[in-house]
């Protein structure tokens, strides 16, 4: 079955949505079809003044998949910060990195 695709304005795009068509700008391919776009990639498209993108409709990941990805990110950050201690600046860093990772797909 082929999933339906549709164009949406960039400011309505959410991290985790899957591209239904390549995103190009001035003849250059920016992101290929099938990419699950991250918050950082969205930001990059905004900077390049891309106004709309084509995404798979109903192609977003299920709530369970998103939950699982968040759990993986949480464990990974805990592993990287296993020697972080309790010092305030390091705790601020840990929180910022965790927020960033939880927001990012995959």
């Amino acid at each position: 079955m082929t999933a339906a695709i549709g164009a949406i304005p960039l400011d309505q795009a959410q991290p985790g949505m899957v591209l239904g068509e390549d995103v190009t700008s001035g003849g250059n391919m920016l992101l290929p079809r099938g990419t699950a776009i991250s918050a950082a990639q969205l930001e990059s498209l905004r900077r390049r003044e891309v106004s709309e993108i084509v995404v798979l409709l109903g192609g977003e990941r299920s709530a369970a998949e998103i939950q699982e990805a968040r759990e993986t990110a949480r464990k990974r950050v805990a592993q990287l910060f296993r020697r972080a201690g309790t010092e305030a600046t390091m705790q601020d860093l840990l929180r910022t990195v965790l927020d960033y990772r939880l927001d990012k797909p995959g």
């Binding site: 990059s44 990287l80 910060f81 390091m90 860093l93 929180r95 910022t96 927020d99 960033y100």
Partner: protein
């Protein structure tokens, strides 16, 4: 206690393969206050391998150029001489050190260095510091560790075993096993090979930025190092985010919201870092 001391390692630096004459000549010339594009291009052109590498890196998105360049003078003009100076220094030294030690573990080393360089560039832009010096300083910040691995593999393996046994920060394992660390080795090399002073200070002080001048690149490279580990450059089960110095963080004057945005910016360039090493 270790059989080798810091003086053993420093004495051995003289036995490192010398920088190619062309590169040394270029580095000397680039330190002059009155550098000319034509002169620089001529010096680079004397080493075809260096010239080819420079064009390749200048054209890779790793260095963030907007325009494709075909010739060395073009590259110098497009980059600007100041940026070209650090690019030349970085590319020449990285090329040289890659011949010193190869292999799988070195891939992790260079991936971390390249990731750290990307972090340093976005942090420098945000903090209003020269981005190219920050980039090159970060690219070379752990060079002392590479020298230890290449020249003293036995001691280097003992450090790695100690780190694994205690699951501690690598620099703590160096202190435990050797009684000195890679920042000290890097500082000695920077002095011997007359690296630009700001880059030497960053190599020497990236684990102790509090001891360096307020406007030293050491604080920026320290934060970039921490940021690179947080973004999993190199990643893997052993990877550990080093302790972030409050003094260094406050010196940059970047907010946590801005930092979070910069994390995304570097993350989006991850493939550039991997490509730049091939």
């Amino acid at each position: 206690m270790s059989a080798i001391t810091l003086s053993t390692v420093v004495a051995d630096l003289d036995r490192l393969p010398a920088l190619p004459e062309v590169v040394q000549d270029l580095l000397d010339y680039l330190q002059r206050p009155d550098v000319e594009v034509g002169q620089v291009a001529q010096r680079i052109a004397r080493d075809p391998a260096l010239a080819a590498r420079l064009l390749r890196v200048a054209n890779s998105s790793f260095y963030g150029l907007q325009t494709q360049v075909a010739t060395i003078p073009d590259a110098l003009v497009v980059l600007g001489l100041r940026a070209a100076r650090t690019l030349v220094t970085g590319a020449a030294l990285v090329a040289h050190f890659q011949t010193l030690a190869a292999g799988e573990e070195q891939h992790a080393f260079w991936l971390h260095s390249a990731g750290c360089a990307l972090c340093a560039r976005v942090l420098a832009r945000q903090a209003g510091v020269d981005t190219e010096s920050a980039f090159t300083a970060a690219l070379l910040h752990d060079i002392g560790r590479l020298i230890l691995t290449a020249r003293f593999p036995l001691e280097s393996r003992r450090v790695a075993a100690c780190r694994a046994a205690h699951d501690c920060h690598p620099i703590d394992a160096e202190h435990e096993v050797l009684g000195f660390d890679h920042a000290q080795i890097g500082a000695a090399l920077a002095a011997l090979w007359k690296f630009p002073a700001e880059i030497a200070a960053a190599i020497a002080g990236h684990h102790s930025p509090e001891d360096q001048a307020r406007d030293s690149l050491a604080s920026l490279v320290h934060v970039a190092d921490v940021m690179a580990h947080a973004l999993e450059f190199p990643g893997g089960e052993d990877d550990l985010v080093p302790p972030l110095s409050t003094v260094a963080w406050n010196r940059l004057g970047i907010s946590w919201d801005e930092f979070r945005r910069l994390l995304g910016e570097v993350d989006a360039q991850r493939e550039d870092a991997e490509r730049a090493l091939s």
